[in-house]
């Protein structure tokens, strides 16, 4: 990618179940603090779930919140926080040269389920179906709400990429910047999935929905007693720019996008394929011009399903055996699976390692599954390492979509 413009991250806004800013999120990751609630899910009773408590009225009028969607509010909050973090002079920014690219796992299920419930209270008469349904459920809704809130007139759309969507949003933005389609991008991933019962029921009937007496211990990737996914909401939106533009305006550069790969298993709708995952990681490394041992943190995708965790570990063992400097962690053990936001949030929580040298752990491991006992896995306690200059962020999803994104510390060759 050396002949193409270099792309850097210059701003970041997020909301996670355990933090509404990077500082709060990071502090809880280093301290080993999970935050999973129990919520009432329609037709399903109490379920563990990751719930965000950001203040939507910080950046939206109450009418905008009422007429829009939950994921629209998450997107706006994250984008506005990212904008503030980037230190941009927004009034002087050409809004027609700004793009919004947000990854989503699914969209529209929440509103559709709500309306089906609503008309069921009126004898299923569709004249009670809300006229807000279509603008709320079009697939571009989260990104479109951001453009309306910020007055952005450049391109916007969402990238549907199952649980690889957070990485996919960032990759799409980097590509559009390299192509010169935009000069500035808001990109990442978002999710409102805890507000749809369908995703809970689907995972439960697949035998992949986590249960535990203590919600904070329900999400336990790599643990011998893991029993499935904790569904969460959240979002992480980044400001991306071409390096030359960022330097010209004197921006603080958080990290540089070094390489990426998205590929497909083409084998099964739900079961991951470690061979394709291995190929995905290796191609991302090749495009970044890196060897495996150049990666200091692997942020894993593992969701705490019986098979998925083992499959990812198989892929990582294939690539990273003999890499003493590579540490491996997992963020879902703290916040559950934020679906479309997962990849973007999991990368965010690791970015401060470039500056502070700490690697947050994967928590909730009482007894490691021998098949997941990777060398370099950071278990239950954060560790300090001599340096962190490159992070590999894995995100995989249903229908066999794999993504690997590598970011590096700016200024490191």
């Amino acid at each position: 990618m050396s002949s193409k413009p270099r792309i850097v991250i210059t701003g970041l806004g997020l909301t996670a179940p355990n933090g509404n800013s990077l500082a709060e999120f990071r502090a809880n990751l280093l301290a080993g603090k999970a935050r999973i609630a129990e919520i009432d899910v329609r037709h399903m009773g109490r379920q563990p779930a990751g719930v965000c408590d950001f203040d939507a009225t910080k950046w939206q009028k109450r009418k905008e919140i009422r007429n829009g969607t939950r994921v629209g509010s998450i997107s706006i909050y994250c984008a506005r926080e990212a904008l503030a973090d980037a230190g941009l002079d927004w009034d002087r920014t050409d809004k027609s040269r700004v793009g919004v690219y947000l990854g989503i796992t699914e969209h529209g299920n929440v509103e559709t389920e709500n309306e089906i419930h609503n008309i069921s209270q009126f004898g299923n008469d569709t004249k009670y179906w809300t006229h807000h349904h279509n603008p709320r459920t079009v697939a571009n809704n989260p990104a479109g709400e951001v453009t309306m809130n910020l007055g952005i007139t450049g391109p916007h759309y969402t990238i549907g990429a199952a649980c690889a969507a957070g990485n996919a949003g960032l990759i799409q933005a980097a590509q559009m910047l390299q192509l010169g389609e935009v000069d500035l991008a808001f990109a990442g991933g978002v999710s409102e999935s805890i507000h749809t019962f369908g995703i809970f029921a689907g995972f439960k009937n697949q035998g992949a929905l986590a249960q535990h007496a203590d919600p904070n211990q329900a999400s336990r990737p790599f643990d011998k007693d893991r029993n499935g996914i904790v569904i969460s909401e959240g979002g992480a939106v980044y400001v991306l720019e071409r390096l030359d533009d960022a330097l010209a305006r004197g921006a603080r550069i958080i990290a540089e996008i070094a390489g990426w790969c998205i590929n497909s298993d083409a084998t099964d709708a739900v079961l991951p394929n470690p061979e394709r995952q291995t190929e995905c990681v290796r191609l991302a490394l090749a495009r970044a011009g890196m060897r495996p041992n150049d990666i200091h943190i692997v942020s894993t995708h593992a969701t705490a399903t019986a098979l998925g965790d083992v499959q990812e570990c198989t892929a990582l063992r294939t690539v990273f055996t003999g890499c003493p400097d590579t540490r491996i962690n997992n963020t879902k053990s703290f916040i559950g699976h934020c679906m479309g936001a997962a990849g973007a949030l999991e990368l965010a929580g690791n970015l401060p390692s470039f500056e502070d040298g700490w690697v947050h752990p994967t928590i909730n491991i009482t007894e490691i599954d021998p098949e997941c006992a990777l060398p370099g896995l950071v278990v239950n306690q954060a560790v300090r390492v001599p340096q962190v200059t490159a992070i590999l962020n894995n995100s995989f999803g249903m229908l066999g979509i794999n993504s690997a994104l590598i970011v590096k510390k700016y200024g490191v060759a």
Partner: protein
Amino acid sequence: MTKEDIKQVVLDIIADIAPDEDLSGVKPEVRLRDQLSLDSMDFLDIVMELRKKHGIEVPEADYVQLASLDSCAEYLLPKFQAKAAK
């Protein structure tokens, strides 16, 4: 149900659908759109809430009757009375 009651019904609905608006000084004779930030989707919300909460139907051809609080009261009063008589 009086005309004043009906104006309050409409104001209560507007308070729900336009929660940022200050409704304390709404003039009943002035078009709602001229004094509040309401768009066509908001008027559809008013129609929907009249249907859901009060069982009142407003045909599309009559939407213009909802222009002001006074015209709302004038138009809706017979409908509320007919509803009460059932």
